[in-house]
Assembly symmetry: C2
Homo-oligomer: 665 residues x 2
């Protein structure tokens, strides 16, 4: 696949070589490959696993430890009722359509998009225009089989129609997509058949919990719900102090219709999510906003996109909040913190932008949302979402269960409240409804002021009122007036009660990991006509292995030195790897450049004599030499980020070895 | 529940107080509690989550880093075919039986066990014998509802029969359990009805992968299969060097019939598993065995158990392997390493034993297995399994897929082999079988020497042979003799090919975590008549929080000192927590004793003057005082395990404060 993506060094990205390297060196590999594999499922091998662990570790330090967030680990298995309440059972779906002949299944929006793009491509060809290969969009990776589009010229008006449809493809529902298929007679290129009308396909994996098959459950599609359900316990743990954040790192699951974009669209993935609970009153200020207000961000806001443009604005988050581009300080604080996190793990910051969701594109729970998008060979990829979920989740769960998911704060000056209230005569109520009493009570307590007013009138006119209660007495319950008193009352409140709003930064670790690989990969030697050798320039903090130990000879006298050095590195907490194979030093280094190992320590005959070793840096291939203790201290300060390679080069004598230099060039 | 369990300090374990502490302080909590909860599912709150992370981190250092194991992260979603091959679809089941009237479902073995035990209890009562409360077995936590057993005296012979059945309850299959229910007329106490005959209930959670519903999948019941399927890639990554181990930390799932034992029997749990691949020839030696041979272990072997005794032997692992109690060095090495790990995280080693599985109790894949069992208020609990899976898994997957899951080693002296061989004429074979060619070839290559010999005879007699190939031509394929040549051949081998055996140490992190809580919990002040206050004496390495910071006053001048100290601890990688509430110092310390925080630093008015602080140790409640830098260095060496509290007390001056002493007593 040719793309316009470039490497760190400005070379065109050779995606095929990168993919081959990643498979060959076991960063990741298709799961169950000897059984033919299952699309959308990947295993991480040792370097991918270590890289993932280091990204997660950095995330934990950057967010959880830095701000004393309350980390929780909730179950993946989730009962139906929870996800019904949250809206996922009804709304967490994509539209799919089926070829009635071949049985092939398409994601409807991807199908429409791809056929229209093929037609536009055919039109350009017919007009003799040069084809510019577009960076592929990971959202539509299903390359349809069948003959390619012929070069057919379209009317100018049709071209414009197609382009307008493509610009708003994310906005269409199932009926609209079905109508487009009919209107433009879109057919499966493989069979020449029009697919059936789109049907909704829920993306959650279902399962049965327990032996009786009675409890329908799902694998969670996000870690958030577990955090919301524990809100009151977490608030208690935090000694009632607001604001606070919970956080969770764990797997989530989405049964994608036809995943085809490697790690960018998978069915099982690691997420790291924060739920920051904030008082909705007072403009959602954040007490550490001043620490980040000068952070410069690339912002592609809603208005710019609606005007049909894609040129982002660069401005400080302080200015963005002040001018209302970003709604509030708390949202802005986290956007800036996300930016700093991506920088910290070594993402190429020239390939990062924050894009605001358009109204019709947001998840059902969000009131505002900004995505951190990273540019890859598959186009701009959403890697982090930062949504303001308002009070949506806590409100719906509280309403459904009757649990008070609220904050209570003592008011400095008491407040007088006049409103309709409803009081239940428990003595009569219990015996009347028995096992349904709880359900009826919950329904009564959920009544609005308007409903109470209407019912109060009804009580004056009749001896009973009738209230909707799902699942009891056929959905309508008759309550004799003696059971409930509805009245206009006045009272003094000493406590303010509110449902917090939630700001949710949500990280797709796999997507970040893949983007990081692309951003840090380049080829050494490709310019000089040599055979290109892949290098991944991970920052020392996230590199799977920090140090390669290379004994220049496999003689026995080297073995204790190698063992001793390994042990010292281990006790410093620095992951190392020994390459004592018979390959040349240069070959051994270049093998480890592929794994992104930033430093190499060579043990040679001089080491046996005087204990000195050389330290080699991956990107420059330059080396310095000193005694072992000095080199270990240097490596430690490099990995911690206390010093740069330039600092070390200035401090320690350079080492030039003909043999090594030739081999590693 | 009264038990015979005792705390660290020899007090009877107050299980109810411990459970209440663990819920109240959010170590863990039932998942979805506001929705009524789902049995067998628990969430970890902040201290539980940190404790879990510290156990896992210690595990990773102790096993993965120490031995350069290859860590992998494989998917939980697993297609049917993989688990069919591994045997889990057919054999990973428990027997359940249903009360036809109430619909209540029981695990059949637990049902039989519980009714017989109730009858024996009734018998003892009738005989006027004193009832000794037995430590509960976590395998049978379903306390059946209904009236208790009456005091009915049984015949002596019946008592003996019941006791013999109970002693071997783990050996019975479904038919036998059903027969016992009939023979002894065992009835559900709640309804007085005999349950229906037991049926097998597979413990895997099923789900559908993909939109067409065509691909049946399961949530993995163990992490092992992903590691086996990647064997060849891992061997390649390890540069073909043997032996080596892979390792994986991740969630697994078992749909328990009726989980009722808190964290000890759950449906979703974290596992840490090692698959150590070893050459089956040469007695499975281990090159680091000498490092552990003197480790003393408590071993309850198979023979002892079969003789009806439960008194274990204490001996060094070196002796155990020498005497054949433990089969080989590699198995012995890992048993010793498991022992050292449990010690390292702070398990009470007087409550650990290794129990060998009896033949009929082992999982379908194991040839030998030792469990590390930890003693808790629920009896002896299996927390780590250490199984020799032989070549079972690699063999079945290789046979099913045709993938060569083997090791090839160059032979120093070539070997002459005479055997039946089968050669396929590919030119004719492909066109004959087309899309089925692969399946037929796989079946042919799987034929045994005996089968080949028979077929060779058949070829002499007929023009074709007939071979079983599931799913092709109705299960039987006719092969004309021209398609395959079967002959007795002689050849020289330069390469030895073998399927490695697998030694698998498998850790249930949740069970270890719960046992650790029980082993480290005790009550302070209970002896003196004071109100008892819970303390959890975690070792510093696994404690969720290492340091509590306690400013003696909430005055503004303390704030920067607290912030600065927090920051310093953070940069040392030491988790800390500030308690700046208005509660007394003593109250604040005892709140954190409940969380197991080993150290406290008090900031008082003297600190503001001269920068000195006090350091308090949780178990002794003793304090020392020095300047901040000295105290920080002391804490760091304590957490690393370089120094003990005794060392620190010897080095630094004691601090006695009337106020604090009174409060914390």
């Amino acid at each position: 696949m040719s793309t316009t993506a470039t490497t760190l060094k400005g070379q065109p990205l050779d995606k095929q070589s990168l993919d081959s390297l990643l498979r060959r060196r076991l960063f990741y590999t298709p799961s169950f490959e000897i059984y033919g594999g299952v699309s959308g499922l990947y295993d991480y091998g040792p370097p991918g696993c270590a890289l993932q662990a280091n990204i997660v570790d950095t995330w934990r330090k950057h967010f959880i430890l830095e701000e004393d967030m309350l980390e929780v680990d909730c179950t993946v298995l989730t009962p139906h009722e929870v996800l019904k309440t949250s809206g996922h059972v009804d709304k967490f779906a994509d539209w799919m359509c089926k070829d009635p002949k071949s049985g092939e299944i398409f994601r409807a929006d991807h199908f429409v998009e791809e056929i229209l793009e093929q037609r536009l491509k055919g039109d350009k060809e017919a007009r003799g225009q040069k084809q510019e290969e577009k960076a592929e969009d990971p959202k539509k990776k299903r390359k349809m089989k069948g003959k390619g589009q012929e070069a057919v010229r379209l009317d100018d008006a049709v071209v414009q129609e197609y382009e307008e449809i493509l610009a708003q493809i994310d906005n269409f529902g199932g009926d609209e997509l079905g109508a487009l298929v009919k209107k433009y007679d879109l057919r499966n290129p493989a069979t020449g058949i029009q697919p059936e009308p789109p049907v909704a396909f829920n993306l959650m994996f279902g399962t049965q919990i327990g032996p009786s098959g009675g409890l329908q459950g799902y694998l969670r599609p996000e870690t958030a719900q577990g955090q919301f359900l524990n809100f009151s316990k977490l608030l208690e743990f935090n000694m009632q102090s607001m604001p606070f954040a919970s956080a969770s790192i764990g797997k989530s699951y989405r049964n994608e219709i036809s995943p085809r974009a490697g790690l960018l669209r998978v069915r099982e993935f690691l997420m790291a999510e924060i739920e920051h609970f904030v008082d909705p009153d007072g403009g959602k200020k954040h007490h550490r906003f001043h620490e980040v207000e000068d952070v410069e961000l690339v912002l592609l806001d809603r208005d710019t996109q609606l005007s049909g443009k894609t040129t982002p604005k660069t401005m400080s988050i302080g200015k963005a909040v002040k001018e209302g581009v970003v709604d509030n300080e708390t949202l802005g604080y986290f956007i800036a913190r996300i930016h700093l996190f991506l920088k910290r793990i070594g993402v190429d910051m020239s390939k990062v932008r924050f894009r605001q969701h358009m109204a019709n594109e947001m998840a059902h729970y969000a009131t505002d949302c900004w995505d951190a998008e990273l540019q890859t060979s598959s186009g701009w990829v959403e890697c982090v979402g930062c949504a303001d979920r308002s009070a949506y989740d806590l409100t719906v769960h509280a309403k459904k269960t009757g649990a008070p998911l609220v904050v209570r704060q003592r008011l400095e000056t008491p407040k007088v409240v006049e409103e309709w209230t409803l009081e239940i005569d428990k003595k009569k109520f219990g015996p009347r409804f028995k096992k349904d009493a709880k359900a009826v009570e919950t329904a009564l307590l959920a009544l609005s002021q308007e409903q109470l007013e209407t019912l109060a009138k009804e009580q004056k006119e009749k001896a009973s009122i009738s209230v909707d209660v799902a699942s009891v007495d056929g959905g309508k319950v008759e309550l004799a007036n003696e059971l409930v008193t509805i009245a206009w009352t006045k009272r003094t409140e000493n406590v303010r009660e509110f449902t917090p709003n939630v700001i949710e930064p949500s990280f797709g670790i796999g997507r970040i990991l893949y983007s990081l690989l692309e951003h840090n990969y380049w080829s050494r030697g490709a310019e000089g006509g040599d055979e290109a050798r892949g290098v991944i320039s991970f920052s020392p903090a996230v590199a799977p292995t920090k140090v390669l130990i290379v004994p220049i000879s496999s003689k026995d006298e080297f073995k204790p030195v190698v063992r001793d050095l390994s042990q010292k590195l281990r006790s410093l907490g620095l992951a190392s790897r020994v390459d004592d194979s018979t390959a040349s030093i240069g070959k051994r280094y270049s093998r480890n450049d592929e794994l992104g190992t930033p430093f190499g320590i060579t043990i040679d005959f001089q080491t046996i004599k005087d204990g000195s070793v050389t330290l080699r840096e991956r990107d420059s291939t330059r080396q310095v030499r000193a005694d072992e203790a000095t080199i270990l201290a240097a490596v430690q300060s490099l990995v911690r980020g206390d010093k740069t390679w330039q600092d070390i080069q200035a401090e320690l004598p350079a080492f030039e070895s003909q043999e090594v230099e030739v081999a590693i060039r």
